[in-house]
Symmetry: C3
Subunit: 357 residues, 3 copies
Amino acid sequence: MIPMNTWYVACTPDEIEGKPLGRQICGHRMVLFRGPEGQVAALDDWCPHRGAPLSLGKVCEGKLVCGYHGLQMGCEGKTVAMPGQRVRGFPPVRTYPVVERHGFIWVWPGDAARADAALIPDLFWANNPAWAYGGGLYRIGCGHQLMVDNLMDLTHETYVHADSIGQPEIDEVAPVTRVEGEHVITERHMQNISAPPFWRMALRHNGLADDVPVDRWQVCHFTPPSHVMIEVGVAHAGHGGYHAPAEHKVSSIVVDFITPENDTSIWYFWGMTRNFRPEDAALTAAIREGQGRIFAEDQQMLEQQQANHLRHPTRALLGLNTDAGGVQARRIVERIVAAERALAAAPTPVAGAGAAA
Amino acid sequence: MIPMNTWYVACTPDEIEGKPLGRQICGHRMVLFRGPEGQVAALDDWCPHRGAPLSLGKVCEGKLVCGYHGLQMGCEGKTVAMPGQRVRGFPPVRTYPVVERHGFIWVWPGDAARADAALIPDLFWANNPAWAYGGGLYRIGCGHQLMVDNLMDLTHETYVHADSIGQPEIDEVAPVTRVEGEHVITERHMQNISAPPFWRMALRHNGLADDVPVDRWQVCHFTPPSHVMIEVGVAHAGHGGYHAPAEHKVSSIVVDFITPENDTSIWYFWGMTRNFRPEDAALTAAIREGQGRIFAEDQQMLEQQQANHLRHPTRALLGLNTDAGGVQARRIVERIVAAERALAAAPTPVAGAGAAA
Amino acid sequence: MIPMNTWYVACTPDEIEGKPLGRQICGHRMVLFRGPEGQVAALDDWCPHRGAPLSLGKVCEGKLVCGYHGLQMGCEGKTVAMPGQRVRGFPPVRTYPVVERHGFIWVWPGDAARADAALIPDLFWANNPAWAYGGGLYRIGCGHQLMVDNLMDLTHETYVHADSIGQPEIDEVAPVTRVEGEHVITERHMQNISAPPFWRMALRHNGLADDVPVDRWQVCHFTPPSHVMIEVGVAHAGHGGYHAPAEHKVSSIVVDFITPENDTSIWYFWGMTRNFRPEDAALTAAIREGQGRIFAEDQQMLEQQQANHLRHPTRALLGLNTDAGGVQARRIVERIVAAERALAAAPTPVAGAGAAA
């Protein structure tokens, strides 16, 4: 149940800094590297010579040199040279449309002819100096939909993250979910509560008292295939909460890009972007470290949940009001996958260039 | 070939001290915990909300609180509460009959309607202050019948435990096996031998000379499904051996409860109970440590034997006189399993309460 | 695609020094040990009593004593004794023809009736005091043919072993491959180049200048089932290269015996034999250490290549001129395996002794 004709985050730029990266995405083993003008290429991780993984090689002057016998692969999936060989007849390897944008490398694992860079989500904060982003990557042994469920139902914070961002008050306020086309929004507003440790830290870093009652909000946005952005924040109580003026609140956006490795494991790109003190690199690092520690707490639960589901694949789950965000997201994904299957059964369109600009 | 309508040791009380325990027993993943009056419950390790393992949660006031979203599960397999939810319609999870007795938690993995606490073996020593018990738990990657074979043929001590309880004389005396209903007894009596290291230690701890000839005995008792109790001991030679007066001998009972995790691995609850110096906790600890070290020596052999059998599932084994105990035990288990299958094919009885008292 | 009616190196003598060795060869789990006159025996690793691996036992006076219950197995696969038992009727276990020769233990995993010790390769250097050998053993998770490919195409040295024996000049000279019956020879001669680090070391150890131009050669010899001997060396440039007089060159033979564990993993016996300073044990050790480090560099590439092939079992590979050695070797092996299959389908010959002298 994985949409293929869509953009996923494949990696971050640091992962292909001067070297190739091998990564399985949606069941396809790819190698990513930078070509001669610095553009990113994504190819089948297969040397056409003897089937060695190209990702074990090196990048030299924008060519990917196989680490076994020196075949030089170009960004277009064509062998451009090999010592002592004429390479014109070498079979090409599959390329995947790939785009670098907003600080991420995006790949389209499905039908290249349908790839359109305009479909990459617009991250308004990504290139805005008023905002600072920090994040990381975890590999988690669960299907992408379990991770979306996790992020669209933050009541789990009370239990999984009891020591950091969790607090009983989350449970006490029912979330409200609405669907706008393929956009699912689940929001929860808590009033006049005490801030949990993570937010006390953020208040202090923002020059605000951390020991006074606050209003707290969580607005989760799902968009397909598996992106979840969560507007989170606290304001000193009584100033309007989510709508409070900037001097009374601290807020940020939790950024989650979930890329299936296969049906039961994911590359989880997590992070946070904020619009206060964006120039403060130490604060970025502190938030990143705290978030990394918190998000690591989900791993065991998600992986054991996945294992339980594999043991009992036909057991029904409950869909409570708190699950509405995940349930709606799942429906959208199911519709998309059904449409892709119908499309695959239909006549093929005229093939495009096979790589997005 | 695992009997299901029977009691197995699921765990020891310390394993559910203030927290739930997840354990697979006879192929069923269960969670065990203590309810509000301290009674033990065993449930399917599955939260009816989203399928997370309940064993990752916490026990609060006798309720098992799911570690993911806070669903509160009761001892009867029914959800008793969940923040912000009405839980009356939540589907129950399977419960397993469970009884705490004789210092162990016993579980009945099969048809709950047939569970009868009166079928739990009567361990006469368990609640008798004249006896002291110490033991431990190993997970071993072999089927339960290989472990029963091991315990019903102690000639292996000469080879596997050469440095502790093994001695050539064991080999030199043929064991005698008899069957009494579902009870298999294999016994061996060695006369006028020197005591091996473990028994020299026991003699010394019991105030007896350890450097004189002894008579030694091993009386192995198998009862279904996979319990083996071994009366073991030495007496100064010439005083009657097994029947010698107490002042000339030191003896104890090796206690083995073998609980299948699945077809090829077991939870091996091993221990020893003795009726000399029962108040001596240091002696209990010393024996326990020695026994733990000795019983660990079997692990590699049993696991490699199991692996060999999986490679060659149809190869015949020899059934020598020394194997008679294991062979007879296997026949009894086969009859029990055949009877269970016949029962399962027959009309179901009226279901009982589903939990033993 | 593994020839069975042939000799493979099973182990080296040190591996059965005073103890049995369990090893899987061509899918058969064997136990190897020395019998009463020091002769080597290879048996099925299965005790006929209860199916325990005999390799967990001990060797006592040339008998293999099972580590579980003391059954004593003889070199002919027959139980010779067991405490308290009459063993005459015990079923024998399979024996494999086995021969100790040239410093290796050779085993014939196929039809014992066809085993002929005269078919063991003649290693002229093995018992010659003018030559010294040092080597080691790696287990590598790839099929034997991938390792043969590796050794018959040394262009990989430039990439995999760039820091030791690799150099760009290898790529620049095309290898020439010829087939003589079941013998495949691939040779490459490089002229007037600088010696790479490994050879500079060898030149110095041989009392030759290491900073002058050299001629370098590599002559790879494949013989079935999977033996590769490589004549390698350098001579000070202009003295005739491979044919230069001894005082101007340093040379040796890379010795590779590749024994399939199963279809996708091998026991790789690697080594080097040289005819200079054979008495210098420190030099032998230094070369062995250097070679071990270099050959370890292939492991990741070979294992990842194997994994890639398993993912895409039907994808075609290129067969370039540099691959000719491996390609020809593969054809020979395919012919041998086809002939074995035809033989297996034909009437069986009268069975021989079942063990080679």
